[in-house]
Symmetry: C2
Subunit: 543 residues, 2 copies
Amino acid sequence: MKVALLQINPIVGDLYGNAAKIKEFANKAKGADLIVTSELALLGYPPRDLLLYPDFIAAAWESLQILAKDTKSLPPILVGTATFNKIKNGRPLFNCAAFLKDGKIREIFLKSLLPTYDVFDEDRYFESGSGLRILKYKDKRIGVSICEDLWNDRDFWQRPRYHFDPIETLAREKVDFIINLSSSPFTIDKQKLRESMISISAKKYKIPIVYVNQVGGDDDLIFDGASLVFDNQGKLLARAKSFDEDVIVVDLNSKSTAINDYLDNKEELIFKALSVGLNDYLKKCGFEKALIGISGGIDSAIVATIASQSLGCKNVIGVLMPSPYTSAQSMTDAQRLAKNLGIKIVTLEIASLMKNYDKALDNAFKGFKKDITEENIQARIRGNLLMALSNKYEALVLSTGNKSELTVGYTTLYGDLTGGLAVIGDLSKTQVYKSAKWINREGELIPKSIIEKAPSAELRPNQKDQDSLPPYDVLDKILSLYIEKHEGPKQIVSKGFDKDLVKRVLSMVAGAEFKRRQSPPTLKVTSRAFGSGWRMPIAARTF
Amino acid sequence: MKVALLQINPIVGDLYGNAAKIKEFANKAKGADLIVTSELALLGYPPRDLLLYPDFIAAAWESLQILAKDTKSLPPILVGTATFNKIKNGRPLFNCAAFLKDGKIREIFLKSLLPTYDVFDEDRYFESGSGLRILKYKDKRIGVSICEDLWNDRDFWQRPRYHFDPIETLAREKVDFIINLSSSPFTIDKQKLRESMISISAKKYKIPIVYVNQVGGDDDLIFDGASLVFDNQGKLLARAKSFDEDVIVVDLNSKSTAINDYLDNKEELIFKALSVGLNDYLKKCGFEKALIGISGGIDSAIVATIASQSLGCKNVIGVLMPSPYTSAQSMTDAQRLAKNLGIKIVTLEIASLMKNYDKALDNAFKGFKKDITEENIQARIRGNLLMALSNKYEALVLSTGNKSELTVGYTTLYGDLTGGLAVIGDLSKTQVYKSAKWINREGELIPKSIIEKAPSAELRPNQKDQDSLPPYDVLDKILSLYIEKHEGPKQIVSKGFDKDLVKRVLSMVAGAEFKRRQSPPTLKVTSRAFGSGWRMPIAARTF
């Protein structure tokens, strides 16, 4: 049997647009017996609280019916969508796959395992489905599963999250192959994990597995595509493109088909993922151009590089906003970076505005000493200027903070946190340096002195990050254990870190929660990013 | 049997502080046979992602053991806490009640029904518990339930969320009475709902029900306390104080005990709830003082009134930041308001800063017309000044936007949205006017002209809200249907609203999502507020 994997980049909520895209791609699936989309492809994943609107679910059903009619002459399609739970208790919806054939919606297969951790909230909307799991078509018994249904193998996971394994059930029912409609967000090691997990299941049950993933960026989430087919020995038979839309048609009886490469250089992978996330966020929000405050430091240099390669250099505007504390070197570096990238520059001096704020606040500040207040005012002048350009030029401001800064709060709310999207907010400072080196692998894009000089916010004379923060290599290790590994102070100290340092760092993290709560959406590349997967209290004692 | 209801205001995460408070209040429960706290009282509700840290759960268990020892000489206590799920699959934790007696943790009762809707995320952390539900103590069989366990009666709810009713099970087991440890956030009609629901269950099963609620503010959530005891006829036997800590000891065989009043005036109720939410947010964040930008408009007037009554007028600073577009009337009104409230005023003129921004941007804006950009610059100058005062004075900025503005985006990100807490962000403009009238019920606090003049942002000459927005009485009805009732455009239009108007309004709502994402936490008083209960996509087509 020949299965077509439709790997599309839907727009969340754009029911008729997504249906049109499914139809368009289905038409490209030449020679297929059966066409399969990703999870919730008709709605776009994740639809979030749009799912709470019965009007939206009803419209999804309508557009599904139209899609069925419009694809009447094509091979049948399994489409990821949502439907009402008509039983009079439980959650209101099911996450499901609809089988479209000969112009009609023929059968519905329900998702059983509902991820409700990290960025996932499926228990908020969906009832766990049971019932029909096997599609009988062309003398084949095809097991239909949806995303998380595949992620509960008790031999693979140390601690399965659920008490039931739909794949095991399908295997017991001796299906000919298993289909999985998925929308699995990208993280750095996710594809390796997926491939090893799916391969082990295919081999263990001696059943081929067809895995169709979503692709593209949706707010903070990036989907990497790279849909997969494994044969009944657990051998990789096909892999679709990563980070791009694709249609592949795979004969499950063949020995080898198209196996597209997956990026195996970590820095390249991150660069590609952030490029897609950035580009889709802008496009899906209706923007063409991006604005970036270029400080002459490494963070804005990386963001400008990603933006210029992802949007095209003519769509990126670098904004230089020197103050009296900005070094000549920073200005030279910023200008050189812009030249290397081929982006336009706008320069706005802020010295006069700083003086003007001092004057405006002179009376109110009588009797107080200079402190961090004056540094924040500078950062917020820059924020205001960036947003003014954003309004006037209709360009989205990209925020340039890295994860280390966001974590310890070494950043000004409404200042450098300003922006519609935090592009590298999930990269530690250590990772930022690695990425910079990779960007320069074939020659200088980011000026060497930007990479080599000591990091500084340049908000007062001779300021260096290391005056206020522990060395980044130590800090980033502590932060990674705390943020990504969920380790508390005792566990972290037991790994050899200084107790007082850990206490100081975690107290900085807690104290910065109010800033993160008001931060822009942050593109996620690690197992735990700030945003929808980070839900910490503010008015609390944490660690 | 005499049961003591411990209605405390815990601090989220402050395990040892909360344990000390439980001990202190348990000591006040004179004559009780059994003492009961609210849900997760030891951790504070909601602990959110602190629950993902095994170090935190281990520390909770340690502090529980110490609490057991420290209260050895007291009557036994049922304490709301969390514990590890030791079975090797499923979610990692249980939400539970621990029975402390004679210095030890004797038994654990698990919560079965886990709310995962609106602001609740319990499926993210907890496994649904089964097993032991009945505490045998002093010849009584006592049914132990936790919060949501009580909220699934199939006769009460049109659509029960769960397939199992723990209360029905306990009734079948013929318990003598039922205890419910709860942390049920305040909304305007919640107490009426609770009382009618609990009364109906008590009457239906002929079993007394003891309901212990948390009190106090935690980030966006406000808990109103007002813990309850109903007898086996469904008659109210006792009600603890609302919006304040309390201990009441109730003899379940008595006919009448202390029934504290619950506020039945809607405006008074809202005022009280917001006062508590505001006060607790500041205190739990370590602030004493609040800063408010006073515009001479009604929104900042209400926020200043709530703040001055909740924190004391000496802890509130009103900041007047007139521009050339600020009317003389607004300045007079603002000063008069401050005088009425007895709060301090700081006045900062912004005309010179506005000019300076114009100058700084002169080159960059060449060839562009004046538009909303210049209005936003003004709002952000004010945001910068407020934050500067906040830094210098160590006072929290209160954001003054109302729900109508936040919904349609009639607000400037990093401008008037600036602040640590949005006090009236869940009140529609219509409700704001009602609240203002109620505040003035015994005489003028808010100057009459503030209430009577047409609302204006005063960001350009002669600007009025109604130039850009539909009349608030129509707008607020549409917004309430969309936001609080989850009705989509078809449903709203079917109620008689103009189709194009509905389309225009919902498109404004969608377009403002990026602003709400970066808004301060918003005190919740309706069934659906912006914040943890509102999870909409940004880069999407919604309605």
